[in-house]
């Protein structure tokens, strides 16, 4: 059923507007949010692969040149989109579940932000139109700012304003790049742009085309939080509520993947594009891990780790072989799951003991043993310990970099994985195993059951993907085969 493709965007958006409208009726919005959150992962499973043309404007053949062009905004739904939207749906469901269970009075505007963000990210993933992507990129940035500002952590407004000022430099640069592409190809549809480039209607060597590539690349760096934006992105993660941070990193990963695939389709014939991708991926890995090791705030530490892990995704795509692309996209999925688990786990600890400074924590394993084990396994998965999913994708990436003739990259990847492990040993020791400091007050409160449930589901997904990675890689390699 191809009609379901626009529904994936329309349902969360409508739900967001309704939630904001009825924001004073607590029961109603809780029920509506829960119902829609269940629907969101189901719709992509029911939908068929295909294209959807808004307004029914099917592609036309030009009388003059005989070239097919797309007059409508086009949504393309393929196996990769199915996978990512399904996973995003599951994360949204878990986040909404945690939220409506842990607060007596649900806030309509806050749920509005969550669902609007979901709609924007889904549209970003589906869209085949580069200007459409820009619109939802800006909406996603605004939603992220709203989610940070709605939290109760200190210094949130400062971080929000900094993020927006950065975004106001990154966003117009992206738009400028899109404008240049529009000027030299006359279209904003990615398929049309790719056609024009592949049939030499556009000179690949013209400085204007290269400038467009650079500007779009810069805008993409902002939205995905790679260096030089890694400091602000990790601050954004650490200033959001725990469940919201889990959602924000999923937004970031999907935005990264969708814009990266669009850029890859347009610019992959430029050799310098791959060099830039690999360069920034290595920089993100190195800076992310070295900053994570030196932090004392464990939320910030996970924020930097999440940024560093993004480097692995970009690395896979920058290597530009079929196997490497599959590995990179698989790593994206694993990172979404594992980082969500860690943000929820660490965030709930920070909420309970009212501090996130590892110098002031200790001895928590006696109080929260379940939480400790889940966080430990999550950390192992992110560091790449064998039977878990992080191991599978990192192994694939290392093999891919070896087979494409870059042994240095695989050594760097291994070193970064080891350092990630060190970060987890440090933070696990400081939080759970170290003797309890005298001034640490542990409230007589249990971990909310909904949080344990959400973490358990994410953990089961980690283990299943680690044991049977072919569930996911089949979908991805089908998509990658069409991309190359």
């Amino acid at each position: 059923m191809n009609e379901l493709i626009p529904i994936m965007v329309i349902i969360p958006m409508t739900c967001a507007l309704l939630l904001s409208l009825f924001s004073n009726q607590n029961k109603l919005i809780k029920g509506l949010a829960f119902f829609v959150a269940i629907c969101i992962p189901i719709i992509p499973l029911l939908s068929n692969y295909g294209l959807h043309y808004f307004g029914g404007h099917a592609p036309l053949i030009s009388n003059l040149t005989g070239v097919l062009y797309h007059p409508a905004v086009t949504y393309s739904f393929q196996s990769l989109q199915k996978l990512f939207i399904f996973l995003l749906g599951i994360l949204v469901f878990l986040v909404v579940f945690i939220y409506i269970n842990s607060y007596k009075k649900a806030s309509g505007p806050y749920l509005f932000l969550i669902f609007m963000g979901t709609a924007a990210i889904t549209a970003l993933m589906l869209s085949d139109d580069i200007f459409h992507m820009f619109i939802f990129f800006e909406i996603a940035a605004l939603v992220q700012v709203g989610i940070i500002a709605a939290s109760s952590i200190e210094d949130r407004y400062e971080t929000a304003l900094k993020y927006m000022i950065m975004g106001s430099i990154g966003g117009p640069m992206l738009l400028l790049g899109i404008g240049i592409l529009l000027a030299i190809t006359g279209s904003v549809n990615i398929t049309d742009i790719v056609y024009a480039i592949n049939h030499n209607l556009v000179s690949m060597n013209s400085p204007v085309f290269l400038l467009a590539c650079g500007l779009i690349f810069f805008g993409w760096l902002y939205t995905s939080g790679l260096p030089p934006f890694h400091t602000i992105k990790s601050a954004v993660y650490s200033k959001a509520e725990p469940h919201a941070a889990a959602l924000l990193q999923a937004f970031t990963v999907i935005t990264l993947v969708s814009i990266l695939i669009a850029m890859f389709r347009i610019f992959s014939n430029l050799p310098i594009f791959e060099a830039l991708l690999v360069g920034f991926a290595l920089l993100a890995m190195i800076l992310g891990i070295s900053m994570a090791l030196t932090q004392n705030d464990f939320r910030r530490m996970i924020g930097f780790l999440a940024v560093g892990e993004l480097g692995f995704i970009v690395l896979g795509i920058g290597l530009n072989t079929e196997f490497a692309l599959t590995a990179g996209l698989f790593q994206a999925i694993n990172e979404m799951i594992v980082t969500a688990l860690l943000f929820i786990g660490f965030g709930v600890v920070a909420d309970l003991i009212k501090t996130s400074d590892i110098r002031k924590t200790g001895g928590l394993i006696a109080y929260y043993p379940k939480l400790a084990i889940m966080i430990l396994i999550g950390g192992f998965s992110m560091a790449g310990v064998p039977p878990l999913n992080g191991f599978q994708s990192k192994l694939m990436l290392i093999q891919a970099s070896l087979s494409s003739g870059f042994p240095e990259i695989s050594i760097i990847a291994i070193l970064v994985s080891i350092a990630t492990f060190v970060v987890f040993v440090k933070v696990f020791y400081a939080m759970f195993l170290k003797p309890k400091p005298n001034d640490l007050v542990i409230p007589n409160k249990k971990v909310p059951r909904s949080t344990i449930f959400a973490m358990a589901i994410l953990l089961i997904m980690c283990i299943i993907l680690g044991l049977f990675p072919s569930i996911i890689t089949g979908y991805i390699s089908g998509f990658v085969g069409g991309l190359l």
Binding site: E158, T159, K162, I165, M166, I169, G170, M173, N205, P207, L210, L211, C213, G214, L215, F217, F218, L221, P227, P228, F229, H230, T231, I232, A235, L270, P271, I272, A275, L276, V278, L282, M285, I286, L287, I289, S290, M291, L293, T294, N296, I358, R359, F406, E408, I409, I411, I412, L415, V416, I418, A419, V422, V423, K426, Y429, A430
Partner: protein, 106 residues
Amino acid sequence: MRFYDKLIGIFKSFKDSTSNTGVSANLTAELTLISTLLMACLLLRHINILLSAVILLGFAVVLLTNMPLIPKFKSEQDDSLNKMLFYVIITLGFIITIMYWGGNFV
């Protein structure tokens, strides 16, 4: 011998500010940073082997003589808007320069 003394001094300089775990984490960060950056320099051999050798040696000397790198790195990557904007603009300039003049050569 002098180099060894310097290294010991660096370990001690970490120690005064943080705890035991903090020292080991900072040391790991330091070693990871140096080794990965030097490894990344090796990638330049795909452009020119001589260039990569020269840059690798130069870089190694610079990194090892400025040894407590992590405090410098950390102070450069803090949350101040001015520092962030500085690096953002530097990166924008870098990308545009590389693209505009070097786009056809790599």
